[in-house]
Symmetry: C2
Subunit: 240 residues, 2 copies
Amino acid sequence: MNKPTLYTCLSPALLHLYDVRDCIVVVIDILRATSTISTALYNGAKEIIPVDSVEKCIRLGKEMACITAGERDGKIAEGLQYGNSSFEYPREFIQGKILVLTTTNGTKLLHMALAKGATEIITGSFLNFSAVCQHLVEMKRNVILACAGWKDKVNMEDTLFAGAVVSEVEQHFNINCDSSGIASNLYQLAKDDMYEFMKKNDASHYHRLTKFGLEKDIRHCLTLDLANVLPYYMNERLVV
Amino acid sequence: MNKPTLYTCLSPALLHLYDVRDCIVVVIDILRATSTISTALYNGAKEIIPVDSVEKCIRLGKEMACITAGERDGKIAEGLQYGNSSFEYPREFIQGKILVLTTTNGTKLLHMALAKGATEIITGSFLNFSAVCQHLVEMKRNVILACAGWKDKVNMEDTLFAGAVVSEVEQHFNINCDSSGIASNLYQLAKDDMYEFMKKNDASHYHRLTKFGLEKDIRHCLTLDLANVLPYYMNERLVV
């Protein structure tokens, strides 16, 4: 059985342990970068330009007259127009527009994967879960599920998403990776009510976002297939 | 409630994210360094000198006329006398002797914690589970559960042990750490039969060691309190 391999990388600080070249890298930042990316593209955004600094975001926004968005530490970064919530990007606002986005963890990880030679990058969230799984199964290529975490610490929700993907696609891959096993077992425990699971375990990001009144955001980001597109990175942009 | 904090660090490559000074660092390398350390000290070894290279192990062995032991990639390292199995260190052999030990992951992590300024280091294994938990509760100090993993990758058994400790002591600590939550949930799933859990999930180390015929070692290392001592690091040695 010559199946492709699948690995889960639980933190950007572990990415150097995996060979990201010649495989599909799934960038995962559930709360909230990759959820927002799914939503904006699903709602008709022309493209999303992920950048790794607030300064670059502001500069591109001026040069290209596009929407600038992003957060640092969960809040809209100074100098940017919008934040990192799916609810800021309904169709009537975002359709046909270009969004330049920078976030604490997700967009940084994407650039890290690029710097390490990744050639195929897609973004994964519960909102586009089925599109991601279907793509991975169809492509029959090696896969790295790359969790953004929080400032290099492992987090609950990105691990849960990796576990959901592992649970869904495992029969198509050769998985010799304890992180994948840990993630899929965690997902099996949590899947009936991920919001309650996050709450019960006082997940750090649950804690952080509810302090900002963002319970609705969390519930949204934990819902399957609400924005079921496949964002992929090409020519410095995320498109579908 | 001014409880001390507890964090779980799932890989040595994440240790820089935690402040190891002024706290108790529990070095965890279930298969098999910290299990062997518990066993040898329980069986009366005078002290264990953990070293980070095979060369240093050989040199100290000659200088001090003591037992040299260690492995690289799961096998006895060339030039050393003994390996990394509890069964090599029964009382009749090890009592009163000094053991110089080097392993792929566990002893390396210990030296990394020292280099980062750790002042109190103990070693944890299922074999000395209760001694570790009792110490942590009594000391009322901040704690880092430091998993050795496998060549910086997160592994199943070290995560399970961290989860067991978290489950046991959590009411005594302020735990704002997703890795701890992930570990304790995993342990709850696995605790009724950790060996079967490791087997069912084809944990990488289960796979690696069973290839060497070491099922008995794995079962031993997953058993609670068979060598219930508290190894602590002092003057470059592990003693009880």
